[in-house]
């Protein structure tokens, strides 16, 4: 069957009244839970799942999938307005999104992330339409050695996430790696740094750490300020909400690169949108002619990661639909939902049930279009949240943080973790240690260890496996290149400083 025939089948299925209705309901619920920090697609999908038992299989899957990708749109809103990442990938959006808000450009930031999210999703959906079976097979060639080398590249690039002192950035990465050690070691089954606390067995809760370091720390830092609102209500004009031509010109290329990285990472069931967002941000900063603008409200710093995380979420349907291998817990529930409705995803899915496959894929795109149309008029409304006096606003934010974090595991222990990391984040803010590299180390550390050791189990202890496998070797070479490229300017600056002998404290370009 060719693409056009497939699209024809897909559109006729996805444009039926029932399919459109459930698509709309799904993406609306998704967007809503995405806006609420902490409460994500996982909770929503699992709560809605039993309701769908009585629906037509296609309507059920369209709605559940809509919740999943719809939540990605909402997630950036709290990050941009309040420095409050609802999920880990949104933490990257905080880096430049929140500074834009402080500059009175919250509307512009929301506008750009909405459009780039749509761009990212669309690109990934095109891949899904054209190449899903091939890409599914490609994903299988990614074994632990490849995952490790790719993540090493990510970690090396993490230096780009910090502004200011590279040394402090390094300290933050290492602190993140160390915190990632907490919990049961996958290989030996032994507990590490759990101090007998059963809740620490699975490690520290990622969402709690992210919300503490970004959201709570920001609140603590602001409480003492006499500033009454985040931005001046009078500064909100129609013009201030719409990006300038210059903004769009800066945003579109990073959005395409972000979509490409996001699609690539999304195809791999073991990576996830956080890595996509972090990597695309790092890439933009590395190739930018003005890297100093990053972290201070650069448009590229929000358009790339938002395109990446949305592309990644859409591309994650590729391994799920073609291999029956879900990339994360939410995808696993979607897969379970398909099974309950008697659909078994596999490579033959395309030919055996073309109407379902194409209907689903086309509905993704329609859902994204609905999200785009829904979001643009809402921007003005969201920005108005910032006109609430801060001493009222922060109580509301804290309330949502506590509810959101609690809802992840239904366990008050995680609320305690948020508070502890809020205090840590506050001191990091004061002493100018960047939080993003810590989060990156925290996410990547445990995954890298797991894959490193598993790759060695596969090769029965032969370290050469990392360079002998071509994809892994290429990633290692790239990591080495990035490392050298970032060390050269530092070394040069050090030499120059020595030559100048006791000049001003020159800040290295990194």
């Amino acid at each position: 069957m060719n693409l056009l025939e497939g699209l024809a089948i897909g559109f006729s299925a996805a444009l039926s009244g029932e399919a459109l209705l459930f698509c709309f309901v799904g993406v609306s619920i998704g967007m809503f839970v995405g806006v609420l920090p902490g409460i994500g697609a996982l909770a929503a999908v699992s709560m809605i799942l039993p309701v769908t038992f009585h629906l037509e299989p296609m309507s059920a899957i369209i709605m559940l999938a809509g919740i999943f990708y719809g939540s990605q749109y909402g997630g950036s809103i709290a990050s941009i307005l309040l420095n409050l990442p609802g999920t880990a990938p949104n933490a990257v959006t905080c880096l430049d999104g929140y500074p834009m808000t402080r500059q009175g450009r919250a509307g512009v930031a929301l506008f750009i992330t909405t459009i780039t999210s749509f761009v990212g999703s669309t690109l990934a959906i095109l891949l899904l339409m054209g190449f899903a079976p091939v890409l599914g097979q490609f994903a299988l060639r990614f074994s632990s050695a490849e995952y490790f080398s790719m993540m090493l590249l990510g970690l090396v690039a993490a230096s780009a996430l910090s502004i200011g002192s590279p040394l402090k950035g390094l300290v933050a990465v290492v602190a993140g790696l160390v915190l990632g050690l907490v919990g049961m070691d996958v290989n030996s089954g032994q507990d590490r740094f759990t101090f007998g606390i059963v809740e620490l067995f699975d490690g520290l809760n990622l969402i709690a750490v992210a919300m503490g370091l970004f959201g709570v720390a920001e609140i603590l830092a602001n409480i003492g300020n006499r500033r009454t609102t985040v931005i001046d209500p009078r500064s909100i004009t129609i013009k201030s909400l719409i990006p300038t031509r210059q903004d769009m010109r800066l945003a579109w290329k990073p959005a395409l690169r972000g979509s490409a990285i996001g699609s690539f990472v999304g195809i791999l069931p073991g990576a996830g949108p956080s890595i996509a967002a972090f990597m695309s941000y790092a890439l933009e900063k590395k190739i930018s002619r003005t890297p100093a603008r990053f972290g201070r409200g650069a448009v590229e710093g929000i358009s790339a990661p938002e395109a990446a995380n949305n592309a990644s979420v859409q591309a994650a349907f590729i391994p799920t639909l073609t291999l029956g291998i879900p990339g994360d817990a939410t995808m696993a529930i979607l897969l379970a939902a398909m099974m309950i409705h008697g659909i078994l995803p596999q490579p033959e899915f395309f030919s055996t049930q073309p109407q379902l496959f194409w209907g689903l894929v086309v509905s993704f795109w329609i859902g994204n279009l609905i999200l785009l149309i829904l979001n643009i008029p809402l921007i003005g409304l969201w920005v108005r949240i910032l006109t609430i006096p801060y001493h009222y606003l922060f109580i509301g934010i804290l309330f949502f943080i506590c509810v959101g974090v609690y809802s992840v595991n239904n366990n008050p222990f995680d609320v305690l973790i948020v508070i502890i990391f809020g205090v840590i984040g506050y001191f990091m803010l004061i002493y100018q240690y960047p939080a993003a590299p810590l989060l990156m180390g925290f996410i990547l550390g445990p995954m890298m260890e797991e894959h490193f050791r598993r790759a060695l189990l596969f090769s029965r202890g032969d370290l050469a496996t990392f360079v002998e496998r071509p994809i892994s070797g290429a990633f290692l070479a790239a990591a080495l290149l990035v490392l050298v490229a970032s060390l050269v300017p530092i070394a040069r600056a050090a030499l120059r400083r020595r030559a100048e002998a006791g000049g001003m404290d020159a800040r290295s370009p990194e």
Partner: protein, 320 residues
Amino acid sequence: MNSILKVALAAAAVTGIAAGTAVAQDHYPSRPITFIVPYSPGATDTLARTVAEVMSEELGVPIVVESKPGAGGTVGAREVATSDPDGYTALFAFASVHTVGPHQRDLGYDFDDLQPVARVATGPNLLAARVGTPFATLDELIAYAQENPGVVSFGTAGTGGLSHLHGEAFSRAAGIELFHIPFQGVTPAIAAALAGDIDLVIGMASSILPQDEAGKLVALAQFGEERASVVPQLPTFRDAGVDASLPTLIGMWVPAGTPEDAVEKLSGALKAALETDQIRDYGNTVLVEFSYADTGAFAGQLATDNESNRAILEELGLAQ
């Protein structure tokens, strides 16, 4: 005298009324029951919700299913073990929280702190091979592994988890040596088997069978006592002459000290629910072998498993 009689009569009446109220309160169940599922939302919690819906009709009170994940299910199990033993809080989980977890670390509860109610299901857990191994049946696997000790690798959902222990128990019973590779959950293990990185994978039928039907994995055997009705075509270990029966048990527990009649009521309602067409059809769809066993039989099976798991964990150096 008269007044004394009056008082006595009044007291008797009051006591009688009080006794009557006590009886009314004793009528179990008289308020909603909470089932705790100690895992992230997904297969098991959907299973619990489906069964709870039917049980709630049997018992005449609503059943609230709460998901309380963490530490392989032991966070939720601890919550049930330490809650009031009144029959209104029950655990719906895999038996590993009862017969494996407490041997590995101090969890705040022990084997004796949970009272079994009844068995819900017996897996089935399957052993499958990647495509392209030199063996296509269980017999061939055993013959090959005997000639090549430690060469054949098997992937499981984690070190010290039930499928790891069952894999070790099987290889001991078959007199072979397999190479264990742990994963974070069964999905990445299946992906590794599809990619050819591992030779064998152990997992529930719901994750293995679709891959087997698509020709991406070769299901070799099932771990249970008897052939499960959802996979009648696969041999058990006993069928192949290996003395091992390692069913993956899903069941219900209440805190130790729960009144016997409450345990009986729950067990009876569960039995009735599992006999309905609705649940039977659901089991066939999600490939779960519903198999009721009453309180006594389930408790006996758990006690046996508890001892054998302890022995294997000690041998592997994973016991606390």
